[in-house]
């Protein structure tokens, strides 16, 4: 049984090369991320939401573009967070207590991960690792078992995953969820915001495709 399972996993990997997913980004040129950071984002987002036949990958849905644009909003600079010190250690039930805003958490985290990779993988950066190596590293970060310079790997991972999911499921006006493809995957009707005629229907799936803020139909 074992060789078959390994073989299937191998096939899935073949279909999921970084070069494929980055094509979907079209001509978007990052304004916030540097070239090295952008390479990280393209790779990491597609490990979190990979290409498969369930739905689009993060990069296919435009998630890196969303995050690059989102990092330039007041939200990512800490506009609605309390940002004054002193910054002291506290139990996890009190949330992130560091001095970095979201955009800096991502930036410092990417730098930390790439530095860690360079040490551990003979000079290669995260984007240059094999997919299973990238996945293993992200799992270590998620579990809080990775030591990075200047940032908690777990906090970085949490923000990276949050931003990736936001970009996947946001209204297309923000740069992600291209063609409402992630909404179609889960059956979300988008911003229709009127279900008067469907509250008591039980015997059939909701029939209408999504609508976005610009009024486009999916």
């Amino acid at each position: 049984m074992l060789p078959v399972a390994v073989g299937l996993a191998g096939c899935a990997r073949e279909a999921d090369k970084p070069a494929d997913s980055s094509r979907a980004l079209g001509d978007y040129k990052p304004a916030f991320f540097t070239a090295a950071e952008w390479a990280f984002m393209l790779a990491a987002c597609d490990r979190l939401i990979p290409a498969d036949d369930i739905g689009p990958s993060a990069a296919q849905a435009g998630v890196p573009e969303f995050i690059d644009r989102h990092m330039q909003t007041p939200y990512a600079s800490g506009e609605i967070w309390y940002m004054q010190g002193p910054f002291i250690e506290a139990a996890p039930q009190f949330g992130y207590q560091g001095r970095l805003a979201v955009r800096d958490i991502l930036r410092v985290g990417i730098k930390g991960i790439d530095a860690h990779c360079a040490m551990q993988f003979n000079g290669r950066r995260f984007a240059e690792l094999e997919h299973p190596e990238q996945e293993a590293l992200l799992k270590t970060a998620e579990a809080g078992k990775l030591q990075l310079e200047d940032i908690s790997a777990k906090e970085f991972f949490t923000q990276l995953l949050n931003e990736t999911r936001m970009g996947y499921f946001c209204d297309p006006k923000h740069g992600g969820n291209k063609n409402m493809s992630a909404w179609k995957m889960i059956g979300y009707p988008g911003v229709r915001a009127d279900y008067s005629n469907w509250v008591e229907v039980r015997d059939q799936p909701y029939p209408l495709p999504p609508v976005d803020l610009a009024g486009k139909r999916g």
Binding site: Q84, S196, L213
Partner: protein, 591 residues
């Protein structure tokens, strides 16, 4: 030097529910009223207009209707020996800002309190003996009764176009409503809303378990409605954007929809938005307020003299303003003396999620904030507390305020947080799962309280409010008991998978997870000025021309959402001001 404005009869701090009610009632009585709101002015048009308002990223991530914590927040700690740290990102609770306040982005659950909620301490003592109440549990009776408030509960429901079904009308039980409620003088102004799948199945499961389910009283209009002020509402279209959002449809009651259309036309009423009140000014005796000091939109310091000061901010910030201004004696947990900050309590909220296969069309994106079903068989006098092993009760309900993928998709147990298996998990869950919740009461304790933080300051240089709060064994037992009952209820429905989050022994309060915006107490009403900050008319014992309506006045929290009781208490206090205080200013209760 501050700019000094002409004196007015009353100044109101905050334009949410309590501020709008006070402004209406006091201008009715002929007073000249200035309202100061720290946030922007807002109205259905243009602020809640479709489609912009239903942008989940702006509403639920950028949180455009909530206060920015960069300006004002609190610090929190679990115990009196710990160092508090700031509430840096919105999590556990969501104070609003702007005209409408949290009354703009609330869901619409509009309960009255039970008769026995008003005398909880005496009722527990009478039913189970004095020793049943733990020594450090500081629960207290309200200094008024359900009957005192009944006309005000009734009126506030009329103002809100509350949709529901009475269970007890003038002492007679009527079918379809809550058989355990205190008697109502009239039926609800509107009939209940229609049931989405989760609510329909809740009735089925409750029937099988022998519970008496009834429609949650919802201030989400089930039909066209005109309130006693002439303000109009349209029927809710189940858009799915209640909690976190202003209503696009004039369907959810709010200060903006239900009261402000009248106020805005009144000569006696002036609303100043972007007016950040810094403190209440007291005279040399410290027994009389002379007005308030605030920063205007440009940051200029302004003094607004007034005969009467009404603190109508969010409950936590009412307490903050009292502490900053020196109104009343700050509470000290070591000696259990002082009143301001005492008896902070919260809400014991827990969720169970039911997952079905793709033949079950749960459609969680269809949403109505206050609609759904609940029962009181485990609340108030129905619960045998001695047997259950805790003080207080709670409700279990089906609620579906509307879900979207940015607000989060709960996946079945065992689904990872990312990767293809996560994609499959969210696809399976999104249309085919729903949740029920346990909303438990939360008792007050000697060591759960509010004071000023010694270290951290807000954007205006003032000390932050410090919250010392943690779960006690009583609330953990309640959570386990009620979540157990909720899981039993769910099993009737035979879901494919089921998840529940009962609190575990020793579990600490987690401020990062949204639970409830029902922060209560801190400036409580009571019969004794030694143990309460406010008298039965929500008037400060110490500075009698200051009134402080809000959930800050609850000595402990019950199993219901607070807005119905907050509104009723505010109308009650306004009546006392109009009928007693204006004629003879001074303390309305002799000490």
């Amino acid at each position: 030097m501050a700019i000094v404005k002409p004196k007015v009869d009353a100044v109101i701090v905050g334009m949410g529910w309590t501020g709008a009610i006070m402004a209406k009632e006091l201008t009715d009585a002929g007073l000249r009223v200035v309202a100061l709101e720290r946030g922007p002015d807002r109205d259905t048009q243009p602020d809640f207009a479709y489609p912009r308002v239903v942008d989940e990223l702006e509403g639920s991530i950028h949180r455009k209707f909530l206060q920015s914590l960069a300006k004002e927040t609190i610090t929190a700690r679990h115990g009196i020996k710990d160092t508090a740290v700031p509430y840096r990102q919105i999590g556990s609770f969501k104070p609003g800002t702007g005209v409408g306040g949290a009354g703009t982005h609330w869901s619409g659950c509009h309960f009255r309190a039970l008769r026995e909620d008003f005398n909880l301490r005496s009722s527990m003592r009478q039913r189970y003996g004095a020793k049943f109440i733990p020594e450090d549990m500081t629960i207290a009776d309200f200094p008024l009764t359900y009957d005192d408030l009944e006309p005000h509960f009734d009126h506030f429901e009329r103002v809100c176009g509350t949709s529901g079904k009475a269970g007890v009308l003038n002492g007679v039980k009527v079918p379809g409503g809550n058989p355990f409620e205190a008697s109502r003088s009239r039926e609800f102004p509107l009939p209940p809303n229609r049931n989405y799948l989760g609510a329909e199945l809740f009735y089925k499961a409750a029937r099988e378990m022998g519970y008496s389910a009834y429609p949650i009283p919802a201030s989400n209009a089930s039909a066209v409605y005109v309130n006693p002020y002439g303000c109009q509402m349209g029927p809710c279209n189940f858009c799915g954007f209640c909690s976190d959002y202003g209503c696009l449809n004039y369907s959810k009651a709010s200060p903006n929809v239900s009261i402000l259309p009248v106020l805005r036309l009144r000569k006696e009423f002036e609303l100043r938005a972007h007016a950040q009140v810094l403190k209440v000014d007291l005279d040399a005796t410290r027994r009389r307020a002379t007005g308030v000091t605030y920063l205007d939109a440009e940051g200029k310091e302004i003094e607004q003299p007034a005969e009467l000061v009404l603190l109508c901010a969010f409950s936590l910030f009412n307490v903050h303003l009292m502490l900053l201004s020196g109104i009343g004696k700050p509470y000290d947990p070591a000696s259990a003396t002082g009143t301001v900050g005492r008896n902070y309590s919260y809400q014991n909220l827990n969720r169970v999620t039911l997952f079905f296969d793709d033949t079950v069309q749960a459609n969680g994106f269809i949403g109505i904030g206050g609609g759904g079903a609940t029962f009181d068989d485990l609340n108030g006098n129905q619960l045998d507390n001695a047997k259950a092993g805790f003080v207080g009760g709670g409700v279990i309900w089906a609620r579906q305020p509307g879900s979207g993928p940015i607000r989060g998709i709960t996946t079945a147990p065992g689904v990872p947080n990312w990767g293809s298996a996560w994609k499959q998990g969210v696809k399976d869950a999104f249309r085919h799962s729903f949740y029920y919740e346990v909303q438990g009461a939360c008792m007050s304790y000697r060591a759960n309280y509010l004071d000023l933080d010694p270290t951290y300051r807000d954007a205006f240089g003032r000390p932050l409010l410090r919250m010392t709060f943690d779960w006690n064994d009583n609330e953990i037992r309640a959570s386990q008991f009620l979540v157990g009952k909720a899981l039993d209820l769910c099993k009737v429905l035979n879901p494919k998978a089921l998840s529940g989050d009962a609190k575990q022994p020793g579990e600490h309060y987690n401020i990062t997870r949204y639970q409830s915006t029902h922060t209560c107490g801190g400036a409580i009403m009571g019969a004794d000025p030694k143990t309460s900050a406010l008298n039965r008319y929500l008037q400060s014992w110490d500075v009698p021309n200051v009134f402080v309506p809000g959930a800050n006045a609850f000595p402990q929290n019950n199993g219901y959402n607070p807005t119905g009781l907050v509104g009723a208490l505010t109308y009650w206090a306004a009546k006392a001001i109009r009928e007693q205080y204006i004629k003879s200013p001074g303390a309305l209760v002799r000490t």
